[in-house]
Symmetry: C2
Subunit: 392 residues, 2 copies
């Protein structure tokens, strides 16, 4: 029994009803949910237990989804979800990381028990937590059963955020503002990169006077110098020097809801090439933020960016943003909408996007981003932080 | 080009030679490595880019493995690995999280280019970063090719640590000693749990005067009160109270090498039931540590534990330890050797095990663990921290 639910029972039941509608439209009779973010979305389940196989079974004729996972995590499911105890099914430890048994064999047992082992089964085929072996084990143990691709079915439902979800994202935004300010204050000539990273994490987790922070789904991305020429490096064992460029991609997190933010810092007098790129990116970002409103598509937003950077020194081949929200490691993106050519998804109020036109050139990079929520007339920038190259 | 390699080129080449021997024994002609820990082990690759598909192709007739990943991460591969630039192959952004294209189609292109698209392909079938869709895409695009299960092939090679690896683990041990002490000092009546978590993270990352800490593969597990009845909960938005029990499972990390450690803290006068369980677990742990030496098997170690707790109030159904070392989220375990019934693996010098007899009962839990390395005559406890229930 969960004595401190993150959302009202009504909100969880509404999400579940939408999931069943999606299942129905796709001919899925049982949905196997293994993405920890989707497990949390539907039931509230929260725990760092996703390194072993776990999931939910959503049946059409059983109101509560069935949680399954390792026995020692069962009490965690009872404490963090709205499910009743009989919907929490722990498996024995001999299924864990064994070459004799696979947890999907336990899932097959459950399907039999619930009379669902002949039904069309949907699986989140490209999720981190649904391996090739999961698919093979289910296929081998469910002969004649049609296994359907249900990848991102729940993720797509998460695209439009409820007011309660947006409230947590606004709290997360307060935290990332503090974390970014901490980084900017701490990073200086002679300071060790790990010390700066430690101060950032301390700020992310201790939160504000009003609320505690949770861990973000990605550790601080904060490369320096030449390491800024690529997108996903963190700190190393060195001291900052004069002339260092530092990228900072951080997030605040409250109740697993993120507010990601990127900024860039230069220690010393920045070279003109960097200033040119920074101006190009920030002007482009500003024009994109002005452009976003209900009715435009992901690819139209990207096209606006492309028009904005025409004639500047900015080179950018990758997408300039993606849906974000509730998430667990390794990604705070939702893997649904992207701001890029070919994305025909229409923005509507409540859609949250990390507008992230990061640029990584051969010798250096530049990042300045904004997490936004689409509103009735345009968009709300969740974060209030100066949109410029910081110079120290 | 990597100007700061974590290990000597000789060490990487030795690992690669062992990998090819394993491949040869299994009839694998091309190995697709997608576990980020294994990618790091073979090439040094380091980056939080595992949220998109990436990997290595290890061929028999090409000395260097081929790194593939997202284009924007290519510079990261050039900066952190010993590979030459022509072995780093970035894919275009339209492969990223797309429902039109899958990165495994890019892998098939690479296999064709290297003349390896008809060869027996080994895949890490049950790894987080090898999804059902990866398997389906490879199967569909490589007709007639035998796809073999190469799960944990590289992980098993990692079981015995080199002196250079153990040196990093000893550094990580210094960090986790500091982090545990920080937690014990910080946690007290009225302190917010997130504040304590923040201080722990700050200590983990800032490291010692001599070296910086890296992020651990698991965020601090630090439940309080009733939440200690399960294994993998972290902090929540509340203040510690008198009578709180707090579990602490933390790790130090240096160059991706871990030293995990668990301890338990009680605020106030602990109930006798907790004292009984604590005594049972610590006595059992001590006897297990005395027992471990080269030649004993995983199951023999567990049997020694089971004899030790006979007649006490300790109830423990799950494994009491597992191999650990180099790792990325979501797990610092290596998913190979476990201390449990049926594990016939023989301990030899250099094997590193987190001896972790955590107990989670209906109402509360207790944890006290030690990370060890098997030596010529017994084992070395990497960490020096009082093995007792802490009382405040």
């Amino acid at each position: 029994m969960n004595d401190n639910p993150v959302f009202s029972l009504e909100e969880y039941l509404g999400r579940l009803a939408k999931t069943r509608e999606s299942m129905y439209r796709r001919g899925i009779e049982v949905l196997l949910v293994t993405d920890p973010s989707n497990m949390n979305y539907l039931t509230g389940y929260d725990g760092w237990s996703f390194y072993v196989h776990q999931g939910l079974l959503v049946l059409m004729d059983r109101e509560e989804p069935v949680w399954f996972g390792r026995m020692q995590d069962s009490n965690g499911a009872k404490l963090t979800t709205w499910l009743s105890d009989e919907s929490v099914r722990g498996y024995e430890d001999h299924y864990v990381q064994s070459n004799l048994r696979h947890p999907m064999e336990f899932v097959v047992k459950l399907l039999k028990e619930y009379g669902a082992d002949k039904r069309r089964l949907g699986v989140e085929s490209d999720n981190y937590y649904f391996t090739g072996k999961c698919l093979q084990t289910l296929t081998a143990n469910l002969p004649g059963v049609e296994i359907l691709d249900a990848n991102l079915v729940v993720n797509w439902e998460r695209l439009i955020k409820s007011p309660a979800e947006i409230a947590y994202m606004r709290q997360a935004a307060r935290i990332v503002e503090k974390a970014m300010a901490t980084a900017m204050e701490t990073i200086d000539v002679g300071v060790r990169e790990g010390v700066a990273a430690g101060e950032v994490l301390k700020t992310q987790l201790s939160g504000t006077d009003e609320f505690t922070g949770d861990y973000a789904a990605i550790m601080p991305i904060m490369p320096s110098g030449r390491r800024t020429s690529t997108a996903h490096l963190s700190w190393v064992d060195r001291r900052y020097e004069k002339g260092d460029l530092v990228l900072l991609e951080l997030a605040g997190n409250v109740r697993r809801y993120h507010a990601p933010l990127s900024r860039t810092l230069f220690i010393g007098t920045p070279p003109s090439e960097l200033l040119d790129v920074a101006k190009g990116v920030i002007d482009g970002l500003n024009r994109v933020l002005d452009f976003i409103k209900p009715g435009v598509t992901g690819e139209e937003v990207e096209a606006q960016w492309r028009r904005s950077i025409a004639g500047t020194k900015v080179v950018k081949e990758s997408r300039i943003g993606y849906a974000f929200g509730l998430s667990y490691p390794p990604d705070w993106g939702e893997r649904t909408l992207s701001l890029r050519p070919g994305d025909k998804n229409v923005l509507v109020p409540g859609v949250s996007v990390h507008v992230m036109p990061g640029v990584w050139l051969d010798e250096f990079g530049f990042e300045c981003s904004e997490p936004i929520v689409v509103t009735e007339r345009g968009c709300e920038c969740l974060v209030n932080y100066p949109r410029k190259l910081a110079i120290k």
